[in-house]
């Protein structure tokens, strides 16, 4: 703590010897002012709290960092009986465990309603984060230092520039150095001679950051008196060139981003369509309850998570096989008890499975209530992967793209490399011939239906991370999944993959121009036209038997 704050800021440096000498005493004057300043936070309005924090920052105290972090995390409170300020160990829970704000020693537990929390609002938290960021500058972890420097770029003043310069001299991490250099160059834009400004612009040319771009563009703006914000024409020209260079690269990356959005939407579509491609293709059943099997998978995720509290990360992995089993067994059950009696009667199957979907929804509503259930996203799936200043890819989408490819690969292996897969393919190509060869088609039907349902359940696990887990989850995806299967060609996994991915990408390319509603309409119209030209989809089943179906 001591070491950290000694590098934290100039004001801390200056005050360092002062409190070092005094900290031996339990109740030094410093502690007194620290505690009384904290006390002012109790009643102050949000804007007054900002001023109190500013004073606290200038005065400095070894516990300042801990207290500020507690305030951000909603863990700072005062005891109603004596108005003394404490740090709480956790933001929730009853009783609460208090820690003394001065000594950082345990101060015992107390009922939650005997303390009052000190609230923050957005602008206050913003101030707090920049204050805390400065403590991060001397962290041994390069990522924390990088965040600290990035935070400081948002509010450049003489103080922060001095800190950045200091950091530049001592830091060894190239990314931190680069970011600090950007900050110093930005600072040079404000003051300095024309050559210094030109040099700064030259070094900022390669940046991809939107903030840098805005700062450079600001140089080109006209002032109210008709002149330019930047008086030197050479500097202006350099800035204009730099801005267009940055814009160009940012556009390239936003194209890459859009492509990724399309792939990720496509992978969701593929995931929900794989199961249907199998059931539709083999058994020939239009399964309107397919969406509800996904819903069962999503609820399985919720249940697994409830059973394993505190293990969010692992529970998702456990949920995958669990959802496969739950949805798969439900599928087999439905097939054995209802659907098999309706083979060859598409209209009746359609109605029966639609009825089944309503029954499944209502069952879930009775068990789990009509309210949506909250599935927690594990830490490793939140946030985004920062590739550079212009491109970040969100982890949950990235994992779902990978997950889809894995599920697709496994399904393909099962169909192409296993005995049951061979049987399924045989039955789907020519049922009568397969039967004549001694394949028990009834069993194959049940297995295929179970496999398709199980994959729907697995898709439900993925959907639980993207959208609401509620009784209506399935309904919102059923149309999409049928669309993909029809587009890709019935019963063909590759068709589902190519169809889903291309629909996703086309949708995302259209969306910025047409809006989400119109993009979907265009897509549907496009699909109708496509089906007119190729009624059997992208990859139709070939052969004489296929025509008889």
């Amino acid at each position: 703590m001591t070491k950290r704050s000694s590098k934290g800021g100039q004001w801390l440096l200056l005050l360092l010897p002062l409190w070092r000498g005094l900290s031996a005493h339990a109740q030094s004057p410093d502690n007194e002012t620290f505690l009384s300043a904290l006390g002012e936070l109790r009643e102050a309005t949000y804007s007054d709290k900002e001023k109190v924090l500013e004073r606290l920052g200038q005065a400095g105290h070894p516990n300042l960092h801990a207290v500020l972090v507690a305030l951000i995390e909603d863990r700072l409170c005062y005891r109603n009986s004596d108005q003394r300020v404490f740090v709480m160990k956790a933001a929730e829970g009853d009783p609460v465990n208090l820690v003394d704000a001065v000594s950082l020693q345990d101060a015992g537990a107390t009922p939650a309603d005997s303390v009052t929390k000190i609230g923050t609002n957005n602008s206050l938290r913003r101030v707090l984060r920049t204050m805390v960021a400065r403590f991060g500058l001397s962290s041994p972890d390069a990522a924390v230092r990088l965040d600290a420097v990035r935070g400081m770029l948002q509010s450049l003043d003489a103080n922060t520039v001095a800190l950045l310069r200091e950091r530049m001299a001592v830091d060894r991490d190239p990314r931190v150095k680069k970011e600090a250099a950007t900050g110093l160059a930005l600072a040079d834009l404000d003051g300095g001679e024309s050559p210094a400004r030109r040099r700064a612009i030259a070094s900022l040319r390669e940046s991809l950051s939107q903030d840098v771009r805005n700062r450079l563009a600001a140089l080109l703006e006209k002032t109210p008196d008709g002149g330019f914000a930047e008086r030197d024409e050479d500097v202006r020209r350099a800035a204009a060139a730099a801005v267009s260079n940055i814009d160009q690269w940012r556009n390239v990356y936003s194209g890459v981003e859009m492509l990724f959005f399309g792939l990720s939407l496509g992978s969701v579509l593929v995931l929900i369509a794989i199961g249907l491609a199998i059931t539709f293709g083999v058994v020939g059943v239009i399964n309107m309850a397919h969406g509800e099997l996904m819903m069962l998978g999503a609820y399985t995720t919720y249940t697994v998570q409830t059973v394993m509290p505190g293990h969010t990360g692992i529970s998702i992995l456990v949920a995958i096989p669990a959802a496969f089993l739950v949805a798969g067994l439900t599928g087999v059950l439905l097939e054995r008890t209802i659907i098999r009696f309706l083979y060859g009667r598409p209209l009746e199957t359609l109605l029966a499975t639609f009825g089944l979907s309503l029954i499944l929804q209502q069952t879930v509503r009775s068990i789990f209530s009509a309210l949506n259930r909250s599935v927690v996203t594990p830490a490793w799936m939140s946030g985004s992967l920062r590739l550079n200043d212009a491109l970040e890819i969100t982890y949950n989408r990235l994992y779902i793209v990978l997950f889809t490819l894995i599920v697709f690969g496994i399904s393909l292996l099962v169909l192409k490399r296993t005995r049951i897969g061979l049987n399924i393919r045989a039955v789907s190509q020519n049922r009568a011939m397969a039967k004549a060869m001694g394949i028990r088609t009834e069993l194959v039907d049940a297995m295929a239906f179970g496999l398709g349902s199980g994959i729907a359940g697995v898709a439900g696990v993925a959907l639980s991370q993207l959208t609401n887990v509620g009784p209506n989850l399935g309904q919102s995806y059923i149309i999409d999944s049928f669309m993909i299967v029809v587009f890709g060609g019935v019963g063909n996994l590759w068709g589902a993959l190519i169809g889903g991915m291309s629909m996703g990408i086309v949708n995302k390319l259209l969306e910025p121009y047409a809006g989400a509603v119109l993009a979907k309409i265009f897509l549907l119209v496009g699909l109708i036209l496509f089906i007119q030209a190729r009624p059997r989809g992208l990859f139709p089943q070939a052969g004489r038997a296929a025509d008889d179906k």
């Binding site: 909603d74 933001a91 929730e92 949506n372 969100t394 993207l466 995302k508 809006g515 989400a516 509603v517």
Partner: protein, 428 residues
Amino acid sequence: MKRKVLNTAAWLVTTGSLFSGVLAAQSKIKVGVLHSLSGTMAISETTLKDTILMMIDAQNKKGGLLGKKLEPVVVDPASNWPLFAEKAAQLLEKDKVAVVFGCWTSVSRKSVLPVFEKDNGLLFYPVQYEGEESSKNVIYTGAAPNQQAIPAVDYLMKEVGVKRWVLEGTDYVYPRTTNKILEAYLLQKGVSSADISINYTPFGHSDWQTRVAAIKRFGSVGKKTAVVSTINGDANVPFYKELGNQKISAENIPVVAFSVGEEELSGLDTKPLVGHLAAWNYFQSISTPVNKTFIDQWHGFIKNSKRTTNDPMEAHYVGFNLWVKAVQKAGTPDVNKVLAALPGLETPNLTGGIAKVLPNHHITKPVYIGEVKANGQFNVVWKSGGAVPGDAWSDFLPGSKDIDADWVKLNCGNYNRSTKRCSGQNYK
């Protein structure tokens, strides 16, 4: 004659037929509850059905109303807008209810409106809505735009210093009208149209990547940006998740929502939402003795101490109490007399203020703006000076500026001050 009646009655009782209800009804007042108990809106509306049942139960324990017991008639319009009209007709024509508490979405209200006006029913509508309406037969206990949307935008403009605005909504009548009013208001306040971005997505939209990336880009030009969200229902969860994943925090680009309350938050992981705002006329976290009593009563009735309370529930609480007072004042549950008794009536709301029925059939409400906390509750960061009277016709839309609604003096919900004409119930 009398004997004949008695005979008939005896026959009815002994056969235990359907008609037994008719006789019982004479000592009962029927209260219709028209909320979806299945379909997409069940999530929100089931709670309101339970709220009314709780209020009726409490009133009956106090001895009923005018010496009669209240009897709830619950129907399920199943989130199906035409079915709302059918069920409303059933309540008014077959069950002959004295009052109906119901509807959530504006489209369902628009669907039942002709039925209520034809059959001269009485509807208490508890949800914040887009305004531009005042019916003789409806009491609007939810917020009009000037009691929610406009104060929220004012807060962002003055206290947060927002210069650039994204108006993001679900594609139906409430967001479209609200955004039209807000856009007119912002332009009037000197915001240039380049600094306003309006966008709509379908119901249940779940792939927010493109929109959130666009918001991020729109908000990155160096001016403080905020999102005003009229996104409704299920689409909110993936929206906030995506915001969190793309690292847009409330400190950079705050989102103020008009349809996200405690109930909606209870169904999602609130971590990525901390600091985002909501504007309502009631929050569960507002600590007043009457609110504490209400929450305890709710937990006791629903037998689950984790259930939240929310703004439309408070609107039903206020609406039910207003109706009870009006019936007591009129001395009869007759719709015309109750409607005449309602304007000017007052009842305490749950936040320590008074709700008063205005001549335009809206009520006075305080406005609160809260920031989401990690526990799914709200931390109030701003509140209006006093109760704000609901304005049926927005002052910021060119067409509706001159229109007044007054059911006391003018007896008209759509009176044009400049042409001095009452367009009656015709809203065009």
